[in-house]
Amino acid sequence: MSPYISPLFSITMIMSVMLISSSGHWVFMWLGLELGTLAFIPILVWWHSSLEVEATVKYFIVQAMAAAVFFLGGMVSLSGDFMGGVNQLMGNIGDMMIMLAVVTKLGLAPFHYWVVDVVQGLNYIPGAVLLTWQKVPGLAVLTQLATCNNSSMLLLFGMVSALVGGLGGLGQTQMRKLLAFSSISHLGWLVVGCVAGSLLGLSYFTLYVVLSIPLFSILHMLNGGHLNQLRTGLMFNPLMSVLLGVGFLSLGGLPPFFGFFGKWLLLTHFVGQLLLGVSVVLITGTLISLFYYLRVSYLCIVVLGPQQIMSGLNWRKMQLSGLMSGLLVLNMLGLFLVGGASCLPK
């Protein structure tokens, strides 16, 4: 596909997000969601490889179904509001349907199956867009929907996704699947954060984006689809590999890094709002997920792969490394900011 057309799609995606966040009516939200999906599909099939096409088909089916359910939910609630003959129950069911549709679009836990397959089929850059930017519309809807009626359900989804994200990644050797599970786990935190306070969810989402974009970029550069391929990273491209390991540690939420402070920020608020059981489940899920983060970090930082005499450093890719290391250093420095923010009065 011609690269000159990509601005069209990206601008459309940005437009869709702006549409959603500025709209107050479900039809425009639906509109924004559809717009985002339709604009993203050409980007997904950029290289026309069979894996990509398959992933795009899966993504399309799920998103279209979710959009239809979304519209149905909206219509049900509309008719409930309007007709009044259908009782109040219908209105609740409409809200619920909308929520389920959005949850499906986001890929939260019981509806998460498509995320893993789609991410596995994609390259790292579209995958990163899928796991970060494409979440914004859904989250924008979700924050507006997180009313008292649905909040307990959302909390449940959040807990289940933290657990599923942790458990699913345990045996994974595919880097992209692992990242997908990691994103599911983080999404659990994020949704609970949205319920606890929309600003919390937003800040945690920002943190996740800041953490994962460099990771995806580095992985794109190292071109490691399998965990085994990371072992040689330390020899070929040591700085990048170490930064990758540190980034994964940060993603896992180990204390000196940025990721920990996001989780800490959320946890202080959860505990402040007496969401104790939820916090325990979230922490358990994260603890399980820490296993595979540590495994990746171990492969990146500690294990020295087989060496060849002639293999030197791959200096050609070092131009971008400045940016990446800058971002990761920013991660590390950001901990002061977040640490300070968590000390602010709530």
């Binding site: 089916i61 219509m75 259908v86």
Partner: protein
């Protein structure tokens, strides 16, 4: 209204349970969209008029969706050689 919801649900179940071809999946999606369109019409019959405008929007977007779905159908039959859903298991 309820009949419309029933049609939607049948389409949804058809989508989930008994499909072998991507084409029929697309057909089910189209059926869902059409049922929604019908539903909008019913709502507007009840005296509310702005859903009619929404119906236009819905129609436009369902057409877009259907066209991109068909494009994907072409792509996948070119890359996989068929449109059987069971063969979509490369990843």
């Amino acid at each position: 209204m309820l009949i419309m919801i029933l049609i939607f649900l049948i389409a949804l179940l058809g989508l989930g349970l008994s499909q072998t071809h991507l084409l029929s999946v697309l057909l089910c999606l189209e059926m869902m969209m059409v049922s929604l369109y019908l539903g909008l019409g019913m709502v507007s019959i009840s005296g509310l008029h702005y859903p009619l405008m929404i119906a236009l929007v819905l129609l436009t977007f369902s057409a877009c969706e259907a066209s991109s779905g068909l494009a994907l159908l072409v792509l996948i039959s070119r890359s996989h050689g068929s449109d059987l859903l069971k063969s979509f298991n490369l990843s």
